[in-house]
Symmetry: C2
Subunit: 198 residues, 2 copies
Amino acid sequence: MADDTTAIDWTPKARQILAAANELFYSRGIHAVGVDAIAERAGVTKKTLYDRFGSKERLVVAYLVGRDQAWRSFLADRLTEAGGDPATRLAAVFAASAAWTAEHSRKGCSMINAHAEISDPSHPAYPVIVGQKQWMLDLFATIAADADAADPAATGRSLMLLHEGALVAAGMGVIPDAYALAGRDAHDLLAGRPPVSA
Amino acid sequence: MADDTTAIDWTPKARQILAAANELFYSRGIHAVGVDAIAERAGVTKKTLYDRFGSKERLVVAYLVGRDQAWRSFLADRLTEAGGDPATRLAAVFAASAAWTAEHSRKGCSMINAHAEISDPSHPAYPVIVGQKQWMLDLFATIAADADAADPAATGRSLMLLHEGALVAAGMGVIPDAYALAGRDAHDLLAGRPPVSA
DNA sequence: CGGTGAATAAACAGATCTGTATAGTTATCG
DNA sequence: CGATAACTATACAGATCTGTTTATTCACCG
């Protein structure tokens, strides 16, 4: 009887369920995958799934929170490796996205994809989705500020556009090496061009 | 008995059904909307829906083809208005996207959203989705070529990144005036910066 | 005036979906 | 050793979903 507020009990089986949900929700879509399929892939009874997560909706939220956390920690590692230089840090973001896509995200950004399926802004997954984008936007603005951009917020938004564009283009396979291209453009934008001011 | 190849008989009711499908599929998602809901919104019997479209899958394809055609014709009108100057044409593309979003596309790009839900590349809607992106990419490359870019294909891809990024950012509401910003960046990229070459 | 096609109305089939109930198993732990 | 928690197995309830069937109405058209 896990309601919206109670935390999830992370038993080993719960982790297996989340791993199965991650694979299926991501590759086939949230609405297209039923809880039976997830339980079967996890090698678990449907009752166990409901004992751990309470509802499909809560499992969906856990799926998105899990991906969000994994991405943030993945990126954080690469950023500490990158050191303090803003240009290097910026390059690390695009390189991290490229590596992440190759490993875990071949069908595009899971947050963008989830946003396509979850229309109701009052859905508990909504803040997770928008929160990740906001976090990335803040990161780009910080990098722009560290690079002494005249208008760090505006430059951060421009960098964000390039990054989101690469996410989509890579996810649909319409631009080869989308991250490399976007990374070069972002670098040029941060370093060379007179700032875009309103 | 309409199979995959036979054309759709565009009776008045068929157009009502497509209009209803357009509203519901776009706002709630393809998998989340049932044919009963579409028939009801269209003021039509489910039998009529199946007599006209044969299956939900064919209705989905018609929905995406319809949006694709509407967008292309909408954009084509603005491009003829814009005349021959590449920079003006480029600005017209981003202005058209902004206007289109305000009128018909408040929840992001329908092709990107459909791609999130349709995982199977052999789905008949797949070429429609990727086809629109390819067409936009060609358009940007043509504009870059008309502007005498050193590498029109590469510049076209960069412009595409900015445009796709604006689609996502606007659809998720994370960047205000995303199209205006992306349009300025695209203009600067086309006009000012030394070309990015591999 | 008779036929044809488009449509309504409404029930139904069969599958699938979320979620629950019941009963039993296993392992740990005080 | 007995309680508790995690889990299996399985059946079920009720809703919803795609798609079909049957019967009927209505308008147009040769």
